[in-house]
């Protein structure tokens, strides 16, 4: 075989494989859109579930997921970003850095059900928060933490040292250099990563299973110690363990579609934000 033929074959193998990946993705989206699209309506988004969850809407699950996402980010974002800054900017010791990297990777690799168990034991039982938004948010936050730390680290690595040196050489302290030069440059990437991790958190079922999620709770929470319904768990419930699984099929696809749209919109938002901030950072 000549070099060119080999080249040619390799090229087509890569091309076909990447098309397969794309095709699978499109297929999944198509499948969910086709089955769920007719369910989408204002009522579906804003009504309580009715008739053993075969009718009505998914309003409380949407609200529940929003609360959980917000709560988990409130916890994971500041801690994760500060930890990332500390690891990358304040430790010179490359051994320690590697150790932290290893630990965050391990943390990210722990199955989410384990986070769920841990959250139940620590937040629900030991700290006595009960099944609550607080316990669920903290558990989800723990899950998101390694992602946020990694994203922050990567964003800081991407900031060229010449910016840091330029600032330090003008007599700026390290803290000021980070605040006024490094972070503004890194922020678009950090925020993008953050939004992507929101996507991850919003789809998780296992961590909220024992810490917050309600099977059926057709009312909105009034405090952070209330339980809530949540989209992924609701989907699980109506497609497996309800009494009328067959009748609630449509509801399930509708819910799946809402969840997918939520994540898609977040990703688009992440992109737009990155572009917007990317332009802005050059300007301020």
């Amino acid at each position: 075989m000549t070099k060119q033929t080999k080249e040619y074959i390799a090229f087509w193998i890569f091309r076909i494989l990447s098309f397969i990946v794309l095709a699978i993705l499109i297929w999944i989206l198509y499948f969910i859109f086709v089955r769920g699209w007719h369910m989408l309506s204002w009522d579906f988004l804003t009504k309580m579930p009715e008739d053993g969850m075969t009718k009505g809407g998914i309003y409380p699950a949407i609200i529940g997921t929003l609360y959980l996402v917000a709560g988990s980010m409130l916890f994971a974002f500041p801690i994760g970003v500060l930890a990332g800054i500390y690891i990358h900017e304040y430790t010179n010791d490359s051994k320690f850095k590697r150790f932290m990297k290893l630990m965050t990777n391990n943390l990210a690799g722990i199955p989410s059900i384990v986070f769920g168990l841990f959250g139940m034991s620590l937040f629900v039982k030991t700290l006595n928060f009960g099944d609550s938004i607080l316990a669920g948010s903290l558990t989800l936050g723990l899950l998101a933490l390694p992602v946020v730390i990694r994203v922050t680290e990567e964003a800081l690595i991407a900031v060229d040292d010449s910016f840091r040196h330029g600032s330090l050489a003008l007599g700026a302290s390290k803290l000021i250099t980070i605040r006024k030069v490094v972070l503004p440059i890194a922020m678009p990437n950090i925020l993008t990563g953050l939004i992507l991790s929101i996507g991850r958190v919003s789809g998780e079922t296992a961590p909220i299973l024992f810490t917050v999620a309600a099977y059926f709770l057709p009312k909105l929470p009034t405090s952070i110690f209330d339980q809530v319904m949540a989209l992924p768990y609701h989907l699980y419930v109506i497609s497996t363990s309800g009494t009328k699984v067959q009748e609630s099929r449509d509801m399930a696809y509708g819910t799946a579609l809402v969840l997918v749209l939520f994540v898609l919109i977040l990703n688009l938002l992440a992109n737009a934000l990155r572009r917007y901030l990317g332009n802005k950072v050059k300007m301020n």
């Binding site: 010179n92 910016f163 330029g166 003008l170 007599g171 302290s173 006024k180 950072v281 301020n284």
Partner: protein, 252 residues
Amino acid sequence: MNKIESKNVHLYYGDFHALKGISMSIQENTVTALIGPSGCGKSTYLRLFNRMNDLIDNVRIEGDILLDGRDIYKKNIGMRIDELRKKVGMVFQKPNPFPKTIFENVAYGLRVNGIDHRSFIEERVETSLRQAALWEEVKDKLKKSAFELSGGQQQRLCIARALAIEPSVLLMDEPASALDPISTSKIEELIYELKTKYTIIIVTHNMQQAGRVSDRTAFFYLGDLIEYDDTPVIFTNPKDIRTQSYVTGRFG
């Protein structure tokens, strides 16, 4: 009076002996060129004067460096590092403006050193940009991003940025190596003019440039200072054979 004095300075990167006992004194308001083959320690030596080597892991420094007679490395009796860096500005090889506006780039050094008086900052920004021969080109777009400037303009912006906090020493590490001939000659003219107010130390690989801008030239070789003399002497009548073969281009 000697503006800067280095006495028997050694520097180690881990086990690697990068500077082997460098002693030299630099007069106020002169331009000193550091020349020598790649890897001989010019940048390392230059970075000693504003303690930028401190940012590198496993660096060990021995000997004394005095600025205006004060030791810049001695803890306690020495000079605080931010105080030092206010007095000793630096221009890097690659232009590195911040992703901010032209105005804010120049104002940055003032702001981080606690100055927030607006009209004072405006005045300093204009003066510095004029000193860096950039004012006429940017006066109508001070609010534009510094990244919209050409490479040569960016480098002059970095010079203005360094000048804004009124240092007395300016370190330049191959400031024109990334620039076109026209920008290069602008920077050289600039150096010539700045000499009246600043003590300048410049690293360069360009022999003509060293000849044109500097009063004194130091030739480094493998971590040693081989020869340090008036620039014309180094170029026309060097004492060491290695200096001679380097400046005549026989090795490099």
